[in-house]
Amino acid sequence: MRFLPLILKSIRRNRRRTLLTVGGIGLSVFVIAALLSVEAGFASLFNSTGESVLNVYEKGLACPITSRVFDSYVSTITSVPNVVGATGVLRGIYSYQSKDHLVTVSGVDFDAFRKLKPIVIRDGNGADFVARGDGALVGRRLAADYGWHVGQTVSFVEDRLTIQVTGIFSSDDKTYEGGVLLHKDYLSKIKRDEGRSTYLIVAVSDPGAVASASRSIDSALATFPKPTTTQSERAAKQLELMALAEIRRMLAVMLVATIIVSIFGAANSVSMSVRDRTREVGILRSLGLRRSHIMQLLIGESALVAAIGGAIGLAAAAALLASAKSLGGMIPLVLPPAYAAGGMGIAIGIGVIGAVVPSVNAARLRVVESLRLVD
């Protein structure tokens, strides 16, 4: 840290080079932060699943939205040992104003749903929601994205679905917080799906009972008109996202490629700065600075420049995310502090790794030679 004044001075010496390096790293970190936020969006959907919650879907289908199970299954399910409660959810995807703005709508039996998935109503109240057949509770994130408020009437393109916003809620479960809750009766009439749900949520007494309860439910319903497949909510979400697995892999490859490109850029920048200062390095060494000090100086300088670029890139990414809505109405796009810190860590890492080879070379120069070097 005592080298800080020296570092600052040498950064200022060649402003153009510093600016270009900061810009290059800033752009790379911007891309990295954007890719990380998509990953964070995926991760948040997993983390919000309850540990002792099961999902019951129609058997054999890969696309969950097309699943249909009968509400009448609930009575059979609740008699399975360890089951604490069960209720159905009817899902639909609707476009708001255009197909670019997709909203996920969940029709629920409010009283039963609240017991299994606690929600906190921030604005408006539950009584109003219950009183209106076409009432809707809008997730906090969604309401913020589209500027909806209590008392507003919202119409969607498909099925001419119209709802009345009676409350804004927040929930630990991010999948619901990004969408709208409606009364199942209302939604099922519009979708011609009376008596059916997309899936059932089942709460069991403790996480250990998940596997056995899943098996019991499926075998109890095996002879029914539509057999089911039951699994923990987390496993269900994982299957849902399997279709996108390869895209996530591609994003990961791009992330790595971006990091590699910036390491080259940082290494280039440091080696240029070292070349400029060979004589300075020689003088410092002759004054008594050790090789490790020289390395500290150079690596520290590179890390600082990279950190500045990283901060700018992260800020730009945060600004972009603030204006972007969630991905397809289902994957929230945010940059949580942990991921932002990770992005900054990557930026500094790029600066450090890029600087290693050039600074080792600089430190290795013999004092006499470096003093003699003119250009």
């Binding site: 290059g24 058997k59 054999g60 289908l61 197909k99 539509k226 057999p227 279709a243 591609m250 920048s269």
Partner: protein
Amino acid sequence: MNIPLKYTVRSLLQRRSRTALTVLGVAAVVAVFTAMVGLGQGMAASFAKTGSPDNIVVLQKGAFSQSLSSLPKSSGEVIRYVPGVKNAGDRILASPELVIEPWTTAPGSDEPRFMSARGVRAVFFAVADTVTVVQGTPGVDGNRVLVGRGAQRKLGGVRVGDRIGMFGETWQIGGIFDAGGTNLEFEILADLDQLMRAAKRDEYSCYTVKLDRTADADRTIALLDADRRVLVTAMREQDYYASSAKVYSVVAQVGLLVSLIVTLGAVFGGMNTMYTAVAGRMREIGTLRAVGFSRNAILVSFLAESLLLSVAGGVIGAAAGCLANGLRLSVGVANIRFIVGSGAVTSGLALAVVVGVAGGLLPARGAARATIVEAMRRV
């Protein structure tokens, strides 16, 4: 007179590490860009052929796609008799279909795959004239299915005679079909009633109808959209395929956007390199000018240096990008192949040239502007 290229090459070779790093940086960027262009071309090829001009797709009103659409069986009574639908002697060319996405198991692998299955009747083959059975025998009945080429690959290269599992039942592959490059190639065709029974569905997904005359398309669509007995949306088959292709192309577009942003970062790196090169060779520049080379010659020489670096990186990068050729990416039900051919390589090299010019222009101008006296004075 222009400064000989030998000077440029030798200058680059003098600063090996810097040259190498810049070239590698450009190579990495061009490699990613070339691969992304290859992905875009693969998508375009997969969804290139856009269906028959005289077919109309009829969906539930407001449905996003055939798989999310649901039509009651009774809707056939209206749809089949709408004016404009072709009547080929003994039957009306209106094909009811069930489009559903089952977890499908293929022989040799326990892992189920996300596939698209379409339940059809015999009339389908008269309506969907892009479908040609290239192996095995045509027709679906009982638990005999036809697998499209794209689906065949996605299932890991299954063959006629193999058995696949859908909805807990076994289906035998009776044939492999081609569909002129349309989405249909990613699907499994099965008997409609059999599939509805296995999937426990009692409604169709959609109808595909053939028009008597292509010119009738707009009128028939309008009649279907306005009909009050069935709530449907109708569109030309080509329009339907075009809109589903758009969904997939988003992936390639995002990839391209990301690689372009990273390219900008590489341009900054290139500029850095060139500015340093210029600064380090000020006395040389002064000498060259004193000897008689014009400002223009200096400009061209440094621009050439920048281009040499970037094109070298471009060639390496394009070659690396070619490694992605043939890779497959599963996007939903589709399976896209990267096509890194002359098109993608040319784009990659073009990008390298742009990077070279963008990175070298300003520094080269700075070099050209220096006055001889100042340049010679620099140590």
